[in-house]
Symmetry: C2
Subunit: 259 residues, 2 copies
Amino acid sequence: MGSVRRYDSGVDVDVTREQARLDWETGTIFRPIRTGNAFEETVERLLQAIKLGVFGPGDRLPAERDLAARLGVSRETLREALRTLQQADCVAPRRGRYGGTFVTYRMPEPDVADLRRAARDLGGALEDALTYRQVLEVGAAEAAARRPLSPEQRAHLEDRLTELDAAPAEQYRQLDSRFHLAIGELTGSPSLAAAIAEARMRLNDLLNAIPMLDRNIEHAAEQHRAMVRAILDGDGDAARRATEEHLAATASLLRGFLA
Amino acid sequence: MGSVRRYDSGVDVDVTREQARLDWETGTIFRPIRTGNAFEETVERLLQAIKLGVFGPGDRLPAERDLAARLGVSRETLREALRTLQQADCVAPRRGRYGGTFVTYRMPEPDVADLRRAARDLGGALEDALTYRQVLEVGAAEAAARRPLSPEQRAHLEDRLTELDAAPAEQYRQLDSRFHLAIGELTGSPSLAAAIAEARMRLNDLLNAIPMLDRNIEHAAEQHRAMVRAILDGDGDAARRATEEHLAATASLLRGFLA
DNA sequence: CGTCAATGGTCTGAAGTCGGACCATTGGGT
DNA sequence: ACCCAATGGTCCGACTTCAGACCATTGACG
């Protein structure tokens, strides 16, 4: 300790502490540029779009050429991904005009064993994802509330809530995702909406595996209403508090099943 | 309006509204998988590591083999990126043992003309980035405050503040970045820290181009102290408020120069 | 004064990815 | 009954990226 070196900047620094700082920061800034190859990431995205409920069973995905362009990937790579999903019985292609790629995926029944396995796979990334999601969604709710919303936007949010309240049990998770995603989109910040979608994707397998009890659903519904009310009222503080409470409840429910 | 169709799910939906929802959500979920090729992203990362001040003038970057592994990129791609930076006089390689790639980049003088140009280049992405940053950093400060911190972590945070207070004008921006990044790292969530780094990178050229007046620096220093105090005290609400205030001040300073 | 280990510099063959052209199929429209 | 536009299916040549091996250089250390 206390070893000191003079740099060409003319500033004396403690070499040991400086090294510790560097080790720490390089890990953050020099993280991997790409998590996998284009093909794998494409599969992941498509699967998550389906699991998040953006496309339900029977829905048609955008045409290959269009989808490839949206994903910024060549059509061939996209097709390879679609072929994989097809073999996993998630989608089925239909040729000809008015054809397309149609979703055949059905949500599996929630299963606590699945949940534990999924949590083990995530490992330390679980706490990371929960913190990440908390910060993003709480912040988004507040940001959405503090923003002037168009009548269309207000209607859209209420639609999501109504849809969710009327959801049959097997669609609940997907419509819940739609609702939370909608709040992210209301912030008007594409980056924020994308980050929320990503965070939710990471937790999605876990959330999907939680058995939904009527009592939990009712509780969640109340919290959802509080969030919507606060956002439509433009009350940022209330929106933040309501979202905080809702996410804390979900997180502790999750931890409960893992304990 | 009111056109209704029955899907195989047996649920009647308003086709017009359903289409609007799809258009909206597909934009979020089917955003591009990769923003550019590996080479471009590598250049960007390196440049940002330097501009954010993780590596100052004269510092040595990690060895090529090591750096390539950290970035998840082949050594050849990394070298191509380094060659580009070399041609831009940002780094210089030195061969032999104890050699390496050394940073030669010097911060340009702040210039309002640069700032306006950079803002124009960003376009609508500016508001996006500001919102994104606000949510992330405010949330991170609160999360860090609500978390038990080790003595090393507390010392690290205080080091960053001390370092920043003692900063010569030409290093101020870089040390400011280090300080804000440190808060993200204190949350213990790598995803959150990475997102903060990314958000800051997007605004970096803008922030760097703001002429720093003594009055602003003093004001910022006060806010920084309040943030640190709140985080070390474990006072989440205070941390959030202090960060909110600080970022609002920076944002309005920025908008002022753009107006 | 030589050794040698760590570093940047160079090359190659394989695999991944891309853009684009062209084919095959289908069902609504004329 | 035919046409044709939109869709999935197939293929190819060019470019990018990769993994790994090998070379060249340097300076601290014995």
